[in-house]
């Protein structure tokens, strides 16, 4: 079976949680005891109808306040596909939440309240989906029941979104669907209220949309996670570099280089507990055995010699700032990239992005929570990387505040 990971985006009360609840409910992925619990709670709270958002709002505070506080993951399967959904909340830490959900997704559903149309938040979500290189976007125009299921309203919104999105160059495919999450129109079952809409229902689209892999099968990359050295007589000489392939294809006999040292060797064997493999590619977890005894440890990267990544201490990146404290100019942070951790200092803030106009902001360079922009970093030791455009794994990093240990930023490396 095939797996599709998607995330939802929208501002508070656009109906994200209700939509996911509806998808689960109408596709019969809800169990009876879950439904009873939700009905009980809805009744107790005095709701007019069963609030399907309670199916994803799993924390007590969320249920009491009727809002989503933190990202929740939900799972369901139809005979065609398995789905992993990230339901992300749209308030205070909205960028952080959306970026978190989007970082592992192949598709984003952007919700728009049909009454409100395309608003600032919508632009932000489209911008972030584009920035994180999610190539497939579904624009779900929700609450159609509150605009009399009017085709004109849907077309207006479609036009406004398309015009904004034309300036975003990574979005490969956009699908617009008019829905009512509350009443179920066009979510799993076709709406009888909108005969003018000829397209697929949301679930049908999710089940059938062709999503190319985000894995890179060209440039071979293997960040070393852990070195396996058994202390047993049987495996006395075994030295396996274990990790998860981050790109390309490795085969026994391949000429490889270990970075940052630059030592060269050949792959002797691709080891797994189930026996050796003839080739390893992303995202498989394996152990590589090399022909020569080379000093290699966690944080190193094994790459094919004919196609090396970039290596250096000066990094250009787009970042999203999550920290409650603003970024300190020339501040020092811990940078975690693949399996490597180094110190980094913010060398320069180049610009921030105004996500409504997509213009660069060059006169206010202080990064606050939810800000997005371009910076340059200097690291204490070399980082072995590709651009995020080439490889999501070797092109991404996080910044950690060494005092609080909090994750304060997500970064995408520019080529």
């Amino acid at each position: 079976m095939d797996l599709l990971r998607f995330t939802t985006a929208g501002s508070v009360d656009d109906g994200k949680s209700t939509l996911i609840g509806r998808l689960l409910y109408d596709s019969k992925s809800i169990f009876e005891d879950q439904l009873e619990a939700v009905e009980r709670f809805s009744r107790k709270r005095g709701d007019q109808h069963v609030d399907l958002a309670l199916l994803t709002d799993g924390l007590r505070a969320e249920r009491e306040q009727g809002i989503t506080i933190d990202v929740a993951y939900r799972y369901f399967a139809t005979p065609r596909r398995k789905f992993i959904i990230a339901d992300t909340p749209g308030h205070i830490q909205y960028t952080r939440n959306m970026v978190t959900g989007a970082s592992t997704a192949n598709l984003a559903i952007i919700l728009i309240d049909a009454r409100k149309g395309v608003i600032e938040q919508t632009c932000r979500h489209a911008f972030l989906a584009n920035l994180l290189r999610i190539q497939h976007v579904v624009v779900a125009v929700n609450k159609m029941d509150l605009v009399d299921f009017a085709e004109e309203r849907f077309e207006e919104i479609k036009e406004a979104f398309t015009s904004f999105a034309s300036r975003l160059d990574n979005l490969v495919e956009m699908t617009f669907i008019p829905i009512s999450a509350l009443q179920g129109d066009n979510v799993v079952d076709k709406s009888t209220q909108m005969p003018w809409y000829q397209g697929p229902t949301l679930l049908y689209h999710l089940e059938t949309v062709y999503v190319g892999t985000t894995e890179n099968h060209v440039e071979a990359r293997f960040p070393v996670q852990w070195v396996i050295r058994p202390h047993s007589d049987q495996w006395h000489d075994f030295r396996g570099f274990s990790g998860r392939v981050a790109g390309g294809v490795f085969k026994p006999g391949d000429a490889v280089t270990v970075l940052p040292s630059g030592f060269q060797s050949k792959i002797k064997e691709i080891h797994t507990a189930d026996g050796p493999l003839e080739e390893a590619y992303s995202p498989l977890s394996v152990s590589l055995l090399l022909e020569d005894e080379i000093d290699t440890s966690r944080g190193d990267m094994i790459v094919k010699s004919n196609n090396p990544p970039q290596m250096g201490q000066d990094i250009e990146a787009m970042i999203c700032w999550f920290g409650e404290k603003p970024m300190s100019p020339r501040g020092r942070y811990v940078l975690r990239h693949t399996t490597r951790e180094v110190q980094a200092v913010i060398k320069e803030v180049r610009y921030k992005v105004n996500i409504n106009t997509l213009h660069k902001i060059e006169d206010d360079l202080e990064f606050h929570m939810n800000d997005i922009g371009r910076i340059s970093l200097r690291t204490s030791a070399p980082v072995i990387y590709d651009s995020y455009a080439k490889n999501r794994i070797t092109g991404s990093f996080i910044l950690i505040d060494a005092g609080s240990n909090e994750t304060v930023a997500a970064g995408m490396i520019r080529g």
Binding site: G58, Y75, S103, H217, P230, R336, T339, I393
Partner: protein, 305 residues
């Protein structure tokens, strides 16, 4: 033969690779991690994956069993055989000891459960052994509070979860940094569903305790659950008649709060067909979750798995 390679990776391969990646990150980022092993299917699968992750070396984790003392005998004998087979170290932290030492107070009445007390025993074991991370077999599809969990779940120095203030988890970059005394819980099976677990058990041919398969058992009904009447840990009241039925367990935990289901499923194929058609969640059989709307969240905030 076509020369175009598709590099297809099956769903189970993806989940396996992800879990192995998380297990290796845990070994690398923490000084002294433990793997919580209950003898239930999720912790069995997790330990199985841990063996694969570090093969041919042994596990770089201690297996920790928080033992409520209310075990099915099958679980204990399975545990000891399995631990020996995969060549792991096992540490048993006993709730009975916590009670005897006055660290925990037994609930009273015939509905008493040791579920809550497990937290005391777990946190004491963590403090004594100086574990800085505990691997758990929890899955996000299991329960609504668990749906909010990270792979690397930060706990303060009292072992408590603060669900409103979690670290964002981006791509596959896990931030396991912490201050002295703080801890982590790590969940390698986060993205697995109950069905994935069963499909994997079948694919790998992992031996399981016989309790998971259909058998004859004397049981009594309480609050809609069928509780075991054979081990003597759960005490039927006079209005709770004992019946003999064809049963199996969908989850295995403390005898006093794990309900059995009526089922003829005697093989993995039967179980997989049964899970596919199920209309109740697996934790619907767990009295510990039925105590209140937010039972799991509350226990996690106190330091539970």
């Amino acid at each position: 033969m076509s020369s175009i390679r598709s590099y297809h990776v099956s769903l189970l391969q993806q989940l396996e690779s992800e879990a192995i990646y998380v297990l290796r990150e845990t070994a690398a980022q923490f000084r002294n991690p433990a793997l919580l092993f209950s003898g239930g299917k999720d912790s069995i699968v997790m330990a199985w994956l841990a063996r694969k992750a570090f093969h041919p070396a042994g596990l770089p984790f201690t297996l920790l069993h928080v033992d409520t003392g209310h075990n099915f005998p099958e679980t204990l004998s399975y545990r000891d055989t399995f631990v020996e087979q995969i060549g792991a170290r096992l540490l048993v932290a006993s709730v009975q000891d916590s009670i005897d030492q006055g660290r925990a107070v037994e609930e009273r009445g015939h509905r008493a459960s040791r579920n809550k007390l497990q937290t005391v025993t777990l946190l004491d074991a963590i403090a004594e052994q100086k574990f800085d991370a505990c691997l758990g077999g929890g899955r996000r599809d299991e329960e609504k509070a668990r749906a909010k969990e990270r792979f690397f779940s930060h706990r303060n120095d009292f072992g408590q979860w603060d669900p409103k203030n979690q670290r964002p988890e981006l791509w596959n970059l896990f931030n396991g940094r912490m201050h002295q005394g703080e801890q982590f819980r790590v969940f390698p099976l986060s993205n697995w569903t109950e069905m994935d677990v069963w499909l994997y058990i079948r694919q790998e041919n992992i031996p399981l305790p016989s309790l998971y398969f259909s058998h004859q058992r004397r049981v009594f009904q309480r609050d809609g659950s069928w509780l075991d009447a054979e081990t003597g840990f759960a005490q039927p009241q006079t209005e709770e008649p004992i019946l003999e039925k064809t049963m199996r367990f969908r989850t295995i935990g403390d005898v006093t709060c794990t309900g059995a289901v009526e089922s003829p499923a005697a093989t993995l194929d039967d179980i997989i067909a049964e899970v596919a058609a199920a209309r109740q969640t697996e934790r619907g059989t767990r009295a510990d979750d039925q105590r209140s709307e937010s039972a799991m969240e509350d226990r996690k905030k106190e330091g539970y798995f």
